[in-house]
Symmetry: C2
Subunit: 637 residues, 2 copies
């Protein structure tokens, strides 16, 4: 029996055309931030200039640049150079590269970033995790001791692929890929990496000459214990002294944020002190190794060294892609968090292109993988940088160092570098975050621990893959097992809410209202059918009297953002099953995309427009009306 | 300024404990149909008997079985036997196995299914697609002509692994895996398979002796044309005659459903006619090949032939798992669709266990992969079967055939078998469904075509993997780019709906209400932040006057079924950004799971309970009140 209804109705407009929905979906998928939205209605000349500005941010900020800003950037640039030198040398050692490569990597890439980068605060440089990851991946293929040149060239090649990969992703607007590295994965990965890097530094701290090329905790501990005859207590003492000094400056910074510069220049001071010490004292006799020869001069070209030998190609491509993903995730996350502090916006895809160019050109000029490291960026931010100019200043300073001062750093004791790395890594171990994860979300905690333990006890790649795999599994479970709930009316209102959440909400006898919160599609359609039928069984077993059985089932589709063919078939199936049991079936508030599909598939024609309601309240009223009429008919007969 | 609100409020109960939520989620994930729900409150003895009945359905239906039901099952059993003989021989040929293996496979497995199976209508047997898939996978490793024994033993081993895999999935309640084979994937896979199987049968139809072992269209067409000197027109004529006869009986059945038995016995009639013809006429002279020797006797044991040689292990395991998945998907889908017609319920996990036992024991007794084929099940259903007994009847009939009649089938011409297979396959090509997919959902159409074209032009496995990959990608896109929309008030109601869908809905100036329909988590949190900020930009660019800028942003979380740490961080970030811009942020109707997490993460404390609303209407009123007060304050000052 049709029920006449007044009031607002569901909009049964003709489904939108394919072209229209495809265009809007395409845009939502790849251009969620609508980058060209701001100047769509401008004149062509102005439009192309704006587009140029969009792609090459230097055209946007440089015209507005002035001397008062430059003063800040100069200071910031010099400060980050003082951090770049020790970090560059240290991380290059971590990647088993000649230390000078670390310095080269702080000259060309910052210039590229100053031109193409969109973050004002990001300082370019090498990062520990990616250095180790590169060393691990390429080290598997080529032994660095036996064939250092080939190893170096493969690292350049991997950097080149990283660049290509980053640029490609950026142009294809696939920033979406980085989204799959979740917060928990990154926390776990960083913690695990920090642990293994710290352990690895025991090589430097103890002055060991023999060590393992493996990175996991078990192998590294074994190597440390196995070579205990090589332990040098002098070396350890010096290392601990520097480590305590560095940790103290960090402690100071945490207590008095204004003293950030103390911890910023501390590594440089350590290196300087170490150099002077090593220059005057006969340290090598006591087993304290030094960096060794550093040639004067700026980056030599390395374009001709890129190695595309098919034998190594898979390894370099893989290393490039994996480290690229990690580097991007770190760089973009960092740029974003500092931008938020200043209420600015970062376009991840644009950043990717900038990182990509930086690494491609870097790989041509003897640099290895660079991104936006946290420590450098924080120092840059705290030094009051105003624009990408600080990166340019750093590049100039680094050029001067390379041209004139490089040989001085020859005397840097390795143990000082180890202390610098350890100190930086200890700061990355984030217990509080992990405890917080445990408290709030156990699954996130597992994802985090998978990364952390995987990195520590297996390999870095395995840890990353395990964790991302778990996270994606969770994502799939979200959609495969969407929460459904029974709705009840909240007293004194027209609102229908989850009866588990609002225990005083009451159901209407004979009517079962269910809410689905997820797209309905192949991965969950079986579940939705089973669950709906179970709700009906549960409802029927609750009610004892015969009059109380379910006569109407209402499916609230407000939360269903999409539906596919399998989903539509499922709704049809549910309807068939219910019809066989003499239960009426209605759907409530289908969203535009779902309604389009349901109309196209003739589902709306089958259940009838009268069974599609705009709100639960309206649907329940209509059902109650039909229940009462049926009762009156029964009574009358 | 706090707004005093009356009426129902959000329930800020303490978050549910981890144990409770974990238990309920675990149950929802693995036991969505609540299988033991029916007898939870029974006495222990009764409970264990019910559990036994649950796991071994024969204990449930046999006690209630009677002679009047048996009459129907006897008839159905005999009818499906007459289909099982030609199908068994044909599909065994398709799998490059001795024809007798096909007959064996219709003896033991149906008995097992009669005991463990839960579907009343499913008839057990071999299926074309899986036979070809097995032949393709194992044929890659071992050439059947050079080493037929090893090939046969590997097929048994693959069947054994299929059984182990199915049983394992069933016991682990991982029916969820089958859900990932979507309707579209199966439609495409079946169509593609039907096309290549039809083409393959040209070997039999043309009486070719040389052929390719590849399955793709290009190779098969090449083989047919390349061997055109072998074409036998006599053979082709006979084949076409049988094909036309078989297609005619199908046509008859479609026109008059009561004549279903005509098409059911047609294959048997064809075989009988073919045998008689071949027995009396000198067919082999004219190039019409016959099946050849069929030994009398029931299944020999094959347990000792299972081959776990490490050389072949990966291939057999892979073949077992892939064909197992396809077989299960087909079997369960078919059992389910017939159960729906009779308003009964099928438990996918229980079916998997039954299929698994069937294949494990089958592999011990010279059977190869069996499941529930569509054609046989349909015939069984139409013959009026009442229970699993019809499978048992078929097994007994097949035993009699094996013991006494097998040698008769020696004379079956191969061309008749080809005609039977082609006729069955032509029925599986479902144009209408594919056209329907194209009309309703373009992405589903792509998933379907990926399977169809992949199977036809590459390999069956590749097609399947491509299609499932696309489907999962789509699933991930659903969650990575959830639909958000701007809500407006529908005139003359308190309902807020998507303004794109309901063009006459109006927004309230100064307030932006957005709806999110998806779990909020790492894969979409960046998107949600970007999109929210874009909505605000769009809203601000729409309004020209200054008074009309956004002052309140309301996020309707009704559709968000879950949230993870990254999601919570994102909400915090959105709030920080909005606060920096002097925009107030409120959330509306968070569901229980989301509210639990937000409370645990102290998000509720940070934004204040006053900014968590139960309904959009209430939220808008509260915001309007604060807007007006602010305006009055402005006016007063």
């Amino acid at each position: 029996m049709a029920v006449t209804r007044s009031g607002p109705r569901v909009n049964f407009a003709a489904p939108r055309g394919f072209a229209k929905t495809f265009k809007s979906k395409f845009k939502e998928t790849l251009f969620p931030d609508d980058p060209f939205g701001g100047f769509r209605n401008e004149k062509p000349a102005r439009k192309s200039f704006k587009t140029l500005q969009y792609f090459v941010p230097v055209f946007e900020w440089f015209p507005k640049y002035n001397f008062s800003k430059f003063k800040f950037d100069l200071l910031a640039g010099i400060t980050i150079t003082s951090l770049a030198i020790p970090q560059g040398i240290s991380y290059a050692k971590l990647a088993n590269l000649p230390p000078i490569i670390g310095l080269y990597s702080s000259f060309i890439p910052p210039i590229i970033y100053a031109v193409f980068g969109s973050s004002k605060h990001l300082a370019v440089g090498t990062v520990a995790a990616c250095s180790l990851l590169l060393a691990e991946s390429i080290g598997e293929k080529v032994n660095v001791k036996e064939n250092p040149d080939l190893y170096l060239h493969l690292i350049f090649t991997a950097t080149f692929f990283t660049g290509i990969f980053e640029t490609g992703l950026g142009f294809l607007r696939l920033g979406i890929l980085v989204d799959f590295l979740s917060h928990s994965t990154i926390t776990g990965f960083m913690t695990g990496t920090a642990v293994i890097i710290c352990l690895q530094q025991m090589k430097g701290m103890l002055g060991l000459k023999h060590f393992t090329s493996k990175t996991d905790v078990v192998h590294v501990l074994k190597a440390i214990l196995h070579n205990r005859k090589e332990w040098k207590w002098e070396c350890f003492l010096v290392g601990m002294a520097f480590l305590i000094f560095l940790q103290f400056t960090r402690f100071l910074r945490n207590r008095k944020p204004k003293l950030f510069w103390v911890s910023a220049v501390a590594p440089m001071v350590s290196v300087a002190v170490g150099c002077i010490f090593a220059f005057f004292a006969p340290v090598e006799k006591h087993g304290i190794q030094i960096v060794g020869e550093l040639k004067r001069g700026i980056n030599p070209l390395s374009l001709k060294h890129l190695n595309f030998d098919p034998e190594y190609l898979p390894a370099t491509i893989k290393a490039g892609v994996v480290t690229g993903l990690v580097a991007m995730a770190e760089g973009i996350a960092i740029a974003r968090s500092f931008a938020i502090m200043k209420n600015e916006q970062i376009d991840g895809n644009k950043e990717m292109v900038a990182f990509g160019f930086m690494n491609i050109l870097g790989s041509f000029t003897s640099c290895y993988l660079t991104t936006g490291p946290f420590s450098k960026t924080a120092v840059n931010f705290n030094s009051g940088c105003k624009s990408q100019m600080s990166n340019f200043v750093m590049a100039i300073c680094m050029m001067l160092v390379l041209l004139f001062l490089a040989p001085i750093f020859k005397y840097t004791p390795l143990v000082v570098l180890s202390a610098i790395i350890m100190s930086a890594m200890i700061g990355l171990i984030n217990y509080n975050e992990i405890i917080h994860l445990f408290k709030v979300d156990k699954f996130d905690f597992c994802i985090c621990m998978a990364a952390c333990l995987g990195v520590s006890f297996l390999t870095m790649e395995t840890g990353l893959i395990l964790s991302v795999g778990l996270a994606i599994l969770r994502g799939l479970l979200y959609v495969a097992r969407p929460a459904t709930c029974k709705l009840g009316k909240i007293p004194n209102s027209e609102l229908y809410r989850d009866m588990e959440q609002y225990p005083d909400a009451t159901g209407v006898s004979g009517i079962l209202a269910l809410q689905i919160g997820s797209p309905i599609y192949f991965a969950n359609s079986n579940y939705i059918r089973e669950r709906t039928l179970r709700w009906i069984r549960d409802e029927e077993s609750l009610s004892n009297s015969k009059s109380n059985t379910v006569e109407h089932v209402l499916l609230d589709l407000s939360g269903a953002t999409a539906i596919d063919m399998t989903g539509i078939e499922t709704l049809m199936e549910i309807r068939r099953i219910l019809t066989a049991r003499d239960i009426k079936f209605g759907i409530v508030n289908p969203r535009i995309e779902v309604l389009d599909k349901l109309t196209l598939a003739h589902f709306v024609d089958i259940i009838g427009k009268d069974s599609v309601y705009l709100s639960i309240d309206e649907a329940v009223e209509a059902c109650q009306f039909s229940l009462e009429t049926a009762k009156q008919d029964d009574d009358a007969s």
